[in-house]
C-alpha cells in the first residue's frame, strides 16, 4: 500500500479568484507586502497496490479524470510505501 500526496496547482496564467479575494483580506489586515496569493489543493489518500508502478498509474488516472482539470491545472504527487 502507498500513501499518495497530491498537489494540484492552477496554472499561473489563469485567474485564481479565491487567492485574489483572500489577498484583499490581507490588505485589510495591513499585510501590504503580500503579493500573488494562489490557493492550491493538497490531497492525501492511500492506494492499495503491491507495486509502485501500479499505484502511480492509478494516481495519474485519478488526477487526470477527477482531481484536476488538465485544461487549467497541473498536478504533482509523491508516493510513500506504508505498512
Amino acid at each position: 500500500m502507498f500513501k499518495a500526496k497530491v498537489l494540484i496547482k492552477r496554472r499561473k496564467t489563469i485567474l485564481d479568484p479565491q487567492g485574489k479575494a483572500v489577498e484583499i483580506g490581507a490588505k485589510h489586515l495591513g499585510l501590504i507586502n503580500i503579493k500573488n496569493t494562489r490557493i492550491d489543493k493538497y490531497i492525501e489518500f492511500n492506494v492499495d497496490t503491491k507495486s509502485k508502478k501500479a499505484a502511480e498509474d492509478e494516481v495519474n488516472d485519478y488526477c487526470k479524470k477527477l482531481l484536476a482539470n488538465p485544461i487549467m491545472e497541473d498536478y504533482e504527487f509523491t508516493l510513500e510505501e506504508v505498512k
Binding site: P17, V22, G25, H28, I39
Partner: protein, 233 residues
C-alpha cells in the same frame, strides 16, 4: 420620539442587504441606511445588521475575509460598547469569524444547500432581540445556507447553556427539539446564539424573509419589533 436608526452593512457578495433594508423601511417605516464595508463610520446607527449573502465568495471560510473589512473594526468597537448587532446567516458566520460570538460554522451534514421554511423554538425570550416573542415561542422562518452546521467545544456549549445564550433551536412545529428537525447537523440544534452581554445575536434563519405578510409569513418581524421596542423604551 426619534425613530431608531438601523444600518445594514453591505459587503462584496452580500445579497440579503436589500431585503433587510426593505423590511425595515417599508414594513416598519424606520430610519435605515446602507453602510458600505469600506467605510469606517457607523453613522450613529442604533442597530447594525450584518446581512446574509456570500461575502467574498465564501472563500477560505465563510465570513473569514469579510471579518477584516474596514467597517468591522467599528462594528467590534460598537458591539464591545453594548451596541446592538444582528448577524443573519452570512452575518452570523462573520460574527463567529470576528470572535464576537463563540464557535464556528461548518458545512451542512447533508452536504446540500438547504433552502426551506423551518420551525424555531425560542429558548430565551428575554433578550433585546426576542422580547416581542411571546406565547408559544415557536417561529416559522426560512433558512437558506450551505454552511449552517454550528459547532463549539464542550466548554463553550456548557457556557452557552448556562448563560441562556442559545436563543433559537431548530424544532418541530410543536417545539420539540429533535434530530429530524435539524436541517444541517448543527450541534444541539442550535440556530441562533447571543453573546454574554446580550447585545450581539447571530442566527442562521432569515427573519427578513418572513416579515412581509405578502410572503405568507411574518414571524421574523418579531425580532425587528423586539429591537425597536427596546430602543424606544
Amino acid at each position: 420620539m426619534k425613530s431608531p436608526k438601523f444600518g445594514v452593512v453591505v459587503f462584496p457578495g452580500s445579497n440579503c442587504d436589500h431585503d433587510t433594508y426593505y423590511v425595515l423601511k417599508k414594513i416598519f417605516d424606520l430610519d435605515v441606511i446602507f453602510l458600505w464595508h469600506k467605510q469606517s463610520s457607523l453613522e450613529n446607527c442604533d442597530v447594525i445588521i450584518l446581512p446574509g449573502g456570500f461575502s467574498y465568495g465564501d472563500y477560505l471560510r465563510t465570513g473569514a475575509i469579510a471579518r477584516f473589512s474596514p467597517i468591522m473594526n467599528e462594528v467590534t468597537r460598537f458591539a464591545n460598547k453594548g451596541g446592538y448587532v444582528l448577524g443573519i446567516c452570512n452575518g452570523f458566520q462573520i460574527l463567529l469569524e470576528a470572535g464576537l460570538l463563540p464557535g464556528i460554522m461548518i458545512r451542512n451534514e447533508s452536504l446540500n444547500f438547504v433552502c426551506k421554511d423551518i420551525y424555531l423554538k425560542t429558548e430565551n425570550n428575554e433578550t433585546v432581540f426576542t422580547q416581542a416573542i411571546n406565547g408559544q415561542n415557536i417561529l416559522k422562518v426560512p433558512i437558506a445556507h450551505g454552511e449552517g452546521n454550528y459547532f463549539a467545544d464542550e466548554n463553550t456549549l456548557k457556557e452557552l447553556e448556562e448563560n441562556k445564550q442559545i436563543v433559537f433551536r431548530y424544532s418541530e412545529r410543536d417545539g420539540s427539539v429533535t434530530n429530524a428537525a435539524n436541517p444541517n447537523g448543527s450541534i444541539k440544534n442550535i440556530a441562533g446564539i447571543i453573546n454574554k452581554s446580550g447585545n450581539v445575536l447571530g442566527m442562521m434563519p432569515h427573519p427578513e424573509r418572513s416579515s412581509d405578510s405578502v410572503l405568507g409569513k411574518t414571524d421574523g418581524s418579531l425580532i425587528f419589533k423586539s429591537l425597536v421596542n427596546n430602543i424606544l423604551n
